[in-house]
């Protein structure tokens, strides 16, 4: 009788735990896509990286570091206009809210890729690794020819 009760308790505890655990056991990570680097003059020491970050989870995820195989240092910056001048504001952390996208694009958030290990040609790829509180997410970013389409200047997000 005691054994039966004990087993019932054990069973209910295990059930409760297994119902609650999926968010912890399942891989809840940021999804990063469309990462690209505009081709730049070979002489430059600094390039930009643009991409879309999607958080499919129901909790905000924070990025606190970015590294790359192709560059000495990577920083996150935002281009803003203040007092009549364009400025870059460094972001030491980037919070991606639950079930949201954060987009890095021209005139806004961007990766600052500093000191390329070698000058990058069109079509070459580098790996970008984002350290977050739920783990590291790595993506491949391709160097592509850049051109202006006027629609890209109409920022709908900010």
């Amino acid at each position: 009788m005691l054994m039966k009760k004990f087993c019932l308790y054990l069973l209910s505890i295990v059930s409760v735990i297994s119902v609650l655990s999926p968010p912890v056991i399942a891989k809840e990570a940021l999804e990063i896509r469309d990462a690209w680097i505009p081709l730049a003059p070979p002489v430059v020491k600094v390039m930009a990286g643009y991409l879309t970050i999607h958080n499919p989870t129901s909790t905000a995820i924070v990025i606190d570091k970015v590294t790359s195989t192709g560059f000495e240092t990577v920083e996150m910056h935002e281009t803003i206009e203040k007092d009549g001048m364009a400025r870059m504001v460094k972001k030491n952390k980037m919070t991606v809210p639950a079930k949201s996208d954060v987009i890095f694009k021209r005139g806004g958030l961007h990766l600052m890729l500093i000191n390329p290990k070698q000058s990058l040609k069109k079509g070459e790829k580098v790996t970008l690794s984002f350290s977050t509180n739920t783990g590291v997410v790595s993506v491949s970013a391709e160097v592509k020819e850049a051109a202006i389409e006027d629609h890209s200047h109409h920022h709908h997000n900010h």
């Binding site: 505009p38 730049a40 003059p41 070979p42 002489v43 430059v44 020491k45 600094v46 390039m47 930009a48 920083e75 910056h77 281009t79 206009e81 203040k82 007092d83 009549g84 001048m85 364009a86 400025r87 870059m88 460094k90 021209r106 005139g107 961007h110 600052m112 890729l113 850049a146 051109a147 202006i148 006027d150 200047h153």
Partner: protein, 232 residues
């Protein structure tokens, strides 16, 4: 005066009347001239009221002659205000260690150049000048490599700060520096205005295109300005 009017009431004294009329006319003329003088000097009566809508937001009716321009171009040749004469010039500001804003501006100007109609590009061709706001790091060699990458005909120009300031203050452009994260003296950020400035063939600061820089808007406005501006 050879007679007193009140002693001969029946005969109008013509000389007196003429003199009085003359004096009154002179006074009236002086009053009218004083009132109109400021308007005539600024040409406002004839020019400002008729600015076409297409250029009104960018065109500066009383252009400002540029002076004291002492730059070096990316071929290491002197660039003074003489090189503004005889052609239109687009000026855009930036620096080569800029990852986002400057490449975007150069791509916009590259597209402006590509979409400019032949009528607006006719000889003499407008010159496209990339003005470095970071003379300490942007040497003529680096500037040449950077600027010609975006378009082989674009010209980079650089000047030490006291000469750079002479240009920026005359065209209302701003720039400033902020330290970077490291202790490295070479690590700093440059903040700067994003507007594109137009200089006319007489060497005057003549128009401003403010951000956001839209290619078709710049092309249309420049084409209209070129039609409108006297002494094209």
């Amino acid at each position: 005066m050879n007679s007193a009017p009140d002693k001969q009431p029946n005969t109008p004294n013509l000389p007196i009347i003429m003199i009085i009329t003359g004096i009154v006319a002179m006074i009236l003329g002086f009053v009218l001239w004083s009132y109109l003088k400021p308007y005539l000097e600024q040409g406002e009566l004839t020019v400002e009221e008729s600015l076409p809508k297409e250029i009104a937001s960018a065109y500066i009716p009383k252009g400002r002659p540029l002076a004291g321009i002492r730059f070096t171009d990316h071929n290491k040749q002197p660039f003074t205000e003489k090189r503004f004469k005889g052609k239109w010039s687009f000026l855009f500001f930036g620096f080569t260690n800029c990852p986002d804003v400057c490449p975007t501006t150069l791509l916009v100007m590259k597209a402006v150049w590509a979409r400019m109609p032949a009528s607006a590009k006719q000889a003499p061709e407008p010159q496209m000048l990339f003005v470095s706001v970071d003379p300490d790091r942007d040497t003529p060699e680096i500037l040449k490599s950077y600027t010609t990458y975006y378009h082989p005909e674009f010209l980079g120009v650089t000047a030490e700060h006291k000469f750079l300031d002479i240009l920026t203050t005359q065209v209302g452009a701003l720039y400033g520096y902020e330290d970077g994260e490291t202790n490295n003296d070479n690590d700093y950020i440059v903040n700067h205005s994003g507007q594109v400035v137009l200089i006319d063939p007489q060497g005057n600061f003549r128009a401003v295109f403010s951000p956001p820089l839209i290619v078709d808007n710049i092309v249309k406005t420049f084409t209209a300005i070129r039609e409108y501006h006297p002494g094209k």
